[in-house]
Every structure is written in C-alpha cells, then in structure tokens.
C-alpha cells in the first residue's frame, strides 16, 4: 500500500516506521526536518520537509497516487484541512485525520471525513483500565465522554 503521513511526531513516526517494516511504500511530511530523527536509522521510506496544507507539497509527496493519507500533526485544523485537500484535490481513496478536539472530530465525521479522536479513545481506554473492565470494540470509544458535550454543542 502507498501511504502518505503528515506530521512526524510520536504517532506519525510510529505509523511510518511500522508500515515501512511491513513492506508498505511510506512517505512522511513534516515542517521540521529535525523531527525525522524519530524515524530511526532503519527507516528507508521517503521524507519531505514542508507544510502539509500546501497543495504543491502534497503533490511532491505524490499524494495523487497514494492509497491512504493520514494527518497526525499537532494542529487539529491543519489535519482537517490537509485531509480535505487530499480527498477533494487528489482523490485519495482513504483519508484519516487525527483530531484532539472531540467536538471537531465528530463534526467532521458527520461530514464524511474519517477522523480519529485520540482524546476520546485514550480516555475511554484509561477509564476501563482504571475500573479493571475488559476493553471493548475501538468504535465504542470514538465518542467517549461526548454525550453531554454533544448536547452543549446543540446538535439539532
């Protein structure tokens, strides 16, 4: 699979190295060239310095031919925008945005953009770990803690 990852933080670099070891074609983009150190010496995929919301950079990363695009920068909005560029401009079949803000994650999920709210998922996992109950299906954590927030946000 050809995958383009935006953001070489802990999550981005981990996905990149793992998928590279699994034999996938991996390209990773980050604004800061220093962050590629996280990839370790064995990573032989492509690295690209640049801003992931810039179409020209995504084109350089050959997003046009990617099977998947994942945005894992620290900025929710940057992730949201870049996946929309990948989806609308480059017709990438699978795009996923990692989003911290649960409300934004669910709002964009409602708009048909695949999102993963790590705040919800890790809170849910921690919750169950504290209580010592067995973990459930991942999907059931995706809106963890959202019931009242959704009301607040005034979903009609």
């Amino acid at each position: 699979m050809k995958v383009v990852i935006l953001g070489c933080g802990r999550v981005g670099s981990t996905i990149a190295t793992t998928m590279f070891c699994e034999g996938h074609d991996v390209t990773i983009i980050d604004q800061n060239p220093d962050s590629f150190r996280r990839l370790g010496p064995d990573f032989a995929g492509k690295t690209l310095v640049g801003n992931g919301i810039d179409e020209d950079i995504l084109r350089k990363a050959d997003v046009e031919h990617a099977d998947a695009f994942v945005a894992t920068t620290n900025g929710d909005n940057r992730n949201i925008m870049s996946v929309q560029v990948a989806k609308v401009r480059f017709k990438v079949p699978k795009v996923i945005a990692r989003i911290y803000d649960p409300i934004r994650a669910s709002a964009y999920a409602d708009l048909g953009i695949e999102t993963l709210c790590t705040t919800c998922v890790s809170s849910g996992l921690l919750h169950d770990k504290i209580l010592g109950v067995p973990f459930k299906d991942v999907e059931s954590y995706c809106r963890f803690g959202m019931a009242d927030k959704a009301m607040e946000a005034g979903h009609e």
């Binding site: 810039d54 020209d56 909005n77 925008m81 803000d101 934004r104 709002a107 946000a153």
Partner: protein, 227 residues
C-alpha cells in the same frame, strides 16, 4: 449610527485586518463581535474597541455557541492561518447554519479550494495586490502598430485605463513630446478625428504618430510612470 438593515457579524481573528474591520463595521452601525484567541491581544482590543471583543478560540464549538453564532448573519474569518479560517467557516456553516461565510486566504492557491469546500467568499490580499499590479502593467501599454520611414517614425496605440493620469484631460492640455501627432481617438469601437478640446476617457485608445526615440516619453505621459 443606526441603520435600517444592521447585520450581526462575527469576526474571528484580532490582527490588523480583524481590528480595522470590526471598527469599520461598528461605525457602519452593525452589530459586531470580534473573537481573538490570544488573551493579551483580546485585552488590548477590548481597550481599543470596547465590549465587542471576546477572548477565546473561534474554532471551538463552545466559544462559537457563546458568541451567538446561531443568529449571526455573517462570519468572517481573518486569522493568519488558512487552516483555522477554513475550519471556522466550515463549522459556522455546518454546525450553526450561518448563511454567509467569508474567509481570508493567505495562500492565493487556496481560494478555489475553499469555495469548493463550501465557504461562500474568499479574500486573498495577495491576489488583490497582484491584480492591481497587473492592471498597472496593462496600463503602461503603448503598442507600436507600424513603422514608417525605415523605423524613424512610428504609429503607436496607447490604451487609456482608469489609472491613467490623462483621463479627463483635453488633448490640448497634454504635455506631449515634440513632434507627436495624435491622429485618432478610438472610442467605443469608433475612430474619431480628435481636436485640442477632445477629452480623453477610460477605455479610449489613442493612435499617435511619433519619432521612434520619443516612444518612452509618450508612454510616460499616458501612464504617469517616471522615465
């Protein structure tokens, strides 16, 4: 100042653009709320503009709710980050049903994308400045049409645009280089034989006979460009 059709406008981003926009909207009698993320900047803006400033992240639903986004007629996103402006407008439109969203676009290449992603209007200062520059370049057009006497004398056409200093002037008032003869003014596709009292207008094309070496001077007369 009160007006018959005041709007409720929410401006997100309290930089220079947001500040002056808010000030102008208040003067024009609209109801405005300016949302600024940075608390310090928000305090300063409150000192300057009064109780129309709200401190908070305009991308967050809780802040949008508090700002009364549901009843806003227009949301204008003018932060320095395109990704923030995009999300503000998309959330305003889809979560709060705001009828009109305007986004500042810092990278002019994002204009088309934003429109495609549902933002109603985009403003790119880069594009605006570029367009003005292009007009300036266009206004400097003095096109050689023909050369007579082995190139010693030229027939040229000067297109008058709105920026040209000769708009509204009579031909007799122009400070033309020596040995220049204006032979025709083309207006609305009709060639006229001009006289000293013919007033030049935006859109006119002036056909002149000049000495080849005077072409630059003539261009300067029609464009206002320094030699």
């Amino acid at each position: 100042m009160s007006r018959a059709n005041p709007m409720y406008v929410i401006v997100v981003g309290g930089g220079k653009v947001g500040y002056h926009l808010t000030k102008t909207l208040i003067t024009e009698g609209h109801e405005v709320l300016l949302i600024e993320k940075d608390r310090k900047s928000a305090e300063y803006l409150t000192d300057q503009l009064g109780e129309v400033v709200m401190a908070g992240d305009g991308c967050e639903v809780r802040i949008m709710e508090e700002a009364g986004m549901r009843r806003a007629n227009v949301v204008v996103a003018v932060t320095g980050d395109d990704e923030d402006n995009l999300v503000i407008c998309q959330m305003a439109k889809r979560q709060f049903g705001v009828p009109r969203t305007l986004s500042r676009v810092n990278d002019p290449n994002n204009e088309a994308l934003f429109l495609e992603l549902g933002i109603d209007q985009t403003i790119s200062s880069t594009r605006v400045i570029f367009n003005l520059l292009e007009q300036q370049i266009e206004s400097s057009q003095v096109i050689p049409l023909a050369a007579l006497k082995k190139g010693e004398i030229e027939v040229v056409e000067a297109d008058i645009t709105v920026n040209s200093p000769v708009v509204g002037k009579k031909i007799g008032q122009l400070d033309l280089p020596p040995n220049t003869l204006i032979i025709s003014v083309i207006r609305d596709d009709h060639a006229t034989l001009p006289h000293a009292d013919t007033k030049l207008r935006d859109g006119d094309s002036v056909i002149a006979l000049i000495k080849a070496e005077r072409e630059r001077e003539l261009r300067s007369v029609f464009t206002g460009e320094q030699l």
